[in-house]
Symmetry: C2
Subunit: 84 residues, 2 copies
């Protein structure tokens, strides 16, 4: 078995309002960073996974994202795997 | 002025307990994914920034992370910039 590290981003979908991101965009102006726009805030998840190969690890991470980590109605996910 | 997209990860520091991650690690077992271990959960932030060059954009994103997005006592951040 190999051990892989997965780095997953779960973000609100583009067509979904992101009130936390909007609030932070406003706060950027207050601290003098008005050049910063369009802030969107989601989750970053790192995890370790034991699997026979990268394909099996990818499958498990897909399952974890779909069943637990992301709400697919409102969020989308992307991830990268690397061997540790 | 150029427009850059920044992709920022804000994660709890290694020496800090991550109760949300621990809870999710436990839930992985319940949905049949006991191969998944050591889940840690942080924030992923994407934003757009106008700057003269990549160096100036990096400086502004550093400021945003230090002053607003991350709590440096408990969290660390990493980011990538790309031109849009």
């Amino acid at each position: 078995m190999n051990k892989y590290q997965a780095e997953i981003d779960v973000m609100p979908k583009k067509e979904i309002l992101d009130p936390q991101g909007k609030a932070v965009t406003g706060s950027m102006k207050n601290i003098g960073l008005s050049e910063i726009q369009n802030v969107r805030i989601g989750k970053h998840i790192s995890l370790e996974i034991e699997a026979a190969n990268e394909e099996a690890a990818t499958e498990k991470v897909e399952q974890a994202c779909k069943n637990l980590l992301a709400n697919l109605i409102m969020e989308s996910y992307t991830f990268k795997l690397h061997l540790v």
